[in-house]
Symmetry: C2
Subunit: 267 residues, 2 copies
């Protein structure tokens, strides 16, 4: 009988140790967990933490306009960019920009002459081409104008819901809405169709690249068009775009809102 008692005691001790172990690892992760990502090397010979650091830094450089013109995203950031776009972070960022813009739009007093304008870019600002870019490596492939135009012709880009909210809000507040896009004049039909089927309506102007605008840098073309607005007596109070070339140059808006876009760069 003595042996059974010893056996029972051993059993109990082990059970307690074991259950304690399980309980603790739920409550407090062991160091090995936290160190896990730093020890696994990726195909680029860098740890996941290292890549996160580098790609996050790269994205910061993109969004704060510190980079020279770039043609594709860094190869090693392909997964990072994809995860950002397909996960919650991209939509979260888009929503924040929209909220900030709405807050500002509500705070300004508009003139009675209906000359206060909000300028919107279209691609990656009102309409999302994410389905197209998902098929083309989210910016990993060099931009192919011919392929992209085929996509545009389908008029299947999806609305960026947070931008639609801002769009409707500024219209309601009494702003004139001018759409200023790098798309060509010959794409007016499909662009109008895509905007309408995405819920955008009642804009005051839709400005596309005319023949003479082709070959101009986006920053130049858009500045010229804003200059014309100012010459016509409009006051540009707000401007939303995913490219710095939508926002900088001449006749710059009182407030500009930079939507995130880590997929491509338009100079």
């Amino acid at each position: 009988m003595n042996f059974f008692i010893i056996l029972f005691l051993f059993f109990s001790l082990f059970s307690i140790t074991f259950s304690h172990e399980t309980f603790n690892s739920h409550l407090l992760p062991r160091p090995l967990i936290i160190e896990f990502p730093q020890t696994i090397e990726t195909q680029f010979g860098k740890s996941i933490d290292e890549l996160q650091l580098e790609c996050s830094s790269w994205r910061f450089a993109v969004e704060s306009n510190n980079l020279s013109p770039w043609k594709t995203i860094p190869h090693e950031c392909a997964d990072y960019v994809k995860d950002y776009l397909m996960g919650r972070a991209y939509r979260f960022d888009l929503e924040r920009v929209s909220k900030e813009a709405i807050k500002y739009a509500k705070s300004v007093e508009l003139g009675e002459d209906a000359k206060d304008v909000w300028v919107f870019d279209i691609d990656e600002t009102l309409l999302s081409n994410l389905p197209y870019y998902a098929d083309h490596g989210f910016g990993l492939e060099v931009f192919d104008g011919v392929e992209f135009d085929k996509w545009v012709d389908k008029a299947m880009a999806s609305p960026i819901e947070s931008s639609l909210k801002l769009y409707e809000e500024v219209l309601k507040l009494g702003f004139k809405v001018f759409l200023l896009t790098g798309r060509s004049e010959h794409q007016r039909g499909v662009t109008v169709a895509n905007l309408i089927n995405s819920g955008f309506q009642d804009w005051d102007k839709l400005i596309l690249r005319a023949t003479e605008d082709h070959g101009k840098l986006a920053a130049t073309y858009k500045s010229e068009k804003r200059n014309e607005m100012v010459e016509e007596g409009y006051r540009i109070l707000g401007n939303s775009g995913d490219q710095w070339s939508d926002l900088l140059g001449s006749s710059v808006s009182i407030r500009s809102f930079k939507l995130p876009n880590p997929m491509y760069y338009i100079p």
Copy 2:
């Protein structure tokens, strides 16, 4: 004896189970590990993942100039901002901006008239006040000008090494270096001392706020000073600053470099 054999068998079985368990958790983290951050609530009633998402989004909004003037960092992002600044990410971002700027500086051809200028802001661009802000919650406390001036008077701000590298490079390339700071003229002595003891020398102009500049927005004051440079025939090819008010306005530089600063905002 039989009992000892049974005891031994039990012991062995437990050991195997136990060692197997330990081995596996080193190799493959269990789901509970991955889920850990999503299940622990912080003092703000949000998971760590949620806070990471929100604060990272807030930081990008700061760096892409989407926010209205703000006085303190969001309370719930206090740890995030501290970790960013004290960890590798801040230095990593600073180094990237410096590298991009050096690449650009080397790519431009300078005139023979010695009129090509690189403008540098000072605080959080050449000199780091991180020791001061570490004592004041990294932006969590409302800015206290009197306290900060006491710190400035000590001339103990540390050099931002990556900016020193850029600084020396543009001097070597033949740029004129103009320092344009929001500090007051009466702080010239300590500012010069701090710059020199940090390794910065041979600048061509050090412009501080004169009496008539007090009360002006930084963006206005700095634009006016850049206008004067242009009127004097200088070409502003590069501009480095941690605030958008260092970079935007009139007589904007050909290329501007936005250094990260999630601690404070100067309009």
